[in-house]
């Protein structure tokens, strides 16, 4: 009887500890951007770490936090990059391409450089706050780097005491949307990208425009 009681107490303590970890799964529902498409074809690739990204924070003696966001990240970039360019193609692998990738004008690979958040009690606010930094890398088809630049995103969501996981997931969703918004509106303002579009990519852009034909004016 003593062993059953002890076992029950240990199980209850373990359950209690587990229950102290807040786990938020970020929604993977992101809209396509309403922007003018760049007449190019790009390949899009993700590393396995990016696809399956999970943030974990566990300090002994304090409640833990887990944020599952790999799927949300890939969905956002699929939709945003798909909306920014005339054509996109999913590519395997990660890192600079070692073999020439045929049939694309460039290759884009995002990485998640950092994820941080603040809980309302830390800052004396009523919101969860999330900061995400993505590292965007763009390569030529032969694997040489065109540009590498950070995209810093910010999101907030109102704190709900009995739904902390949802609040944190919502704030993360807002930050991911923020990154997509910044990328889709300011992509061609990145200096190296602007230069590339104006010079190297110009022939490919012109070719696609000729293939499309003249735009009918009403």
């Amino acid at each position: 009887m003593r062993y059953v009681t002890r076992g029950a107490l240990v199980a209850a303590a373990l359950l209690g500890l587990y229950g102290c970890t807040t786990t938020g799964t970020v929604d993977s529902d992101f809209p396509d951007p309403v922007v003018n498409k760049i007449p190019l074809k790009v390949g899009l690739r993700y590393s396995p770490e990016f696809r399956e990204y999970i943030y974990r924070d566990q300090i002994p003696g304090e409640p833990g936090w887990v944020v599952i966001m790999g799927s949300a990240n890939t969905t956002m970039f699929d939709n945003v990059v798909g909306g920014m360019f005339e054509e996109t193609m999913a590519l395997d692998g990660s890192g600079p391409p070692t073999d020439n990738v045929a049939d694309v004008d460039a290759i884009i690979e995002p990485e998640l450089e950092s994820y941080e958040f603040a809980i309302p009690t830390e800052w004396g606010t009523s919101n969860f706050t999330v900061w995400i930094t993505y590292r965007m890398k763009m390569y030529r088809p032969d694997g040489t780097l065109i540009a590498s630049w950070p995209v810093r995103a910010y999101g907030e969501s109102r704190f709900q005491f009995f739904n902390k996981d949802e609040s944190l997931a919502d704030a993360t969703t807002m930050a991911i949307r923020d990154a997509g918004a910044y990328l889709s509106l300011y992509f061609d303002e990145e200096p190296r990208i602007r230069e590339w579009l104006r010079e190297e990519a110009a022939p490919a852009v012109a070719k696609r425009r000729r293939a499309r034909g003249p735009v009918k004016r009403r």
Binding site: V34, N36, S126, Y154, E156, R177, D178, A181
Partner: protein, 218 residues
Amino acid sequence: MTRLAIVALCALLGSGCMTATIEQSRHTLTGVGDGESIVILARSYYNGNNTEGKFIDCIDEQLAKGKRPMTVLADEEFRDAFYPWFEPRTAPKTPADLPALLAVPAIVERINETGLRYIVWVEGSTEALEGGGNISCSVGPGGGGCFGLMWWEKDSDYEASVWDLREVASAGQVAADVNGMSIMPAVVIPVPLIAPTQTTACKRLAEQLKLFLYAGVG
């Protein structure tokens, strides 16, 4: 002494006491035609605004019912349909930003599809102000209970700025400021009497918005 008198009066009346101030300023003529719709959006948290999501939902609901119900686009669906142009970072800050937005053909197409005529930006929030009083609770062999009185003041201060997409200009502002005293007398059991300042501000603001939009026809 005056504050204590108000608290005592509220206790006698059995409900929270509130005062409401509604203001309006008009810049252009308005009017809502058949097939025209509006959207209510909270100002961006990038500007430090912290309007509650449930307040926006309340305004939507109030405008969509009653005499002369309006066609109100849900804010989340609107942001998705017009992504990335109305995210907290990218949303237009003043009517002077509208021409750049309306220069995007896909945006104009979406506006025509939805019949969108007015964008209403809401800023402000409900805050708890000062409070006082004391309630003491005790439990003994014969039973338990609480005795005392607590009170606190709440202020719901909101302003709605109306942008007319047809005139590409600000149509005006409508503001509602509701101040209320909530009390909690305790005679054995504490009985909270909450002043519904946020709900009242929502209803009064929505009423005034309807008048503003429908009544301002030349």
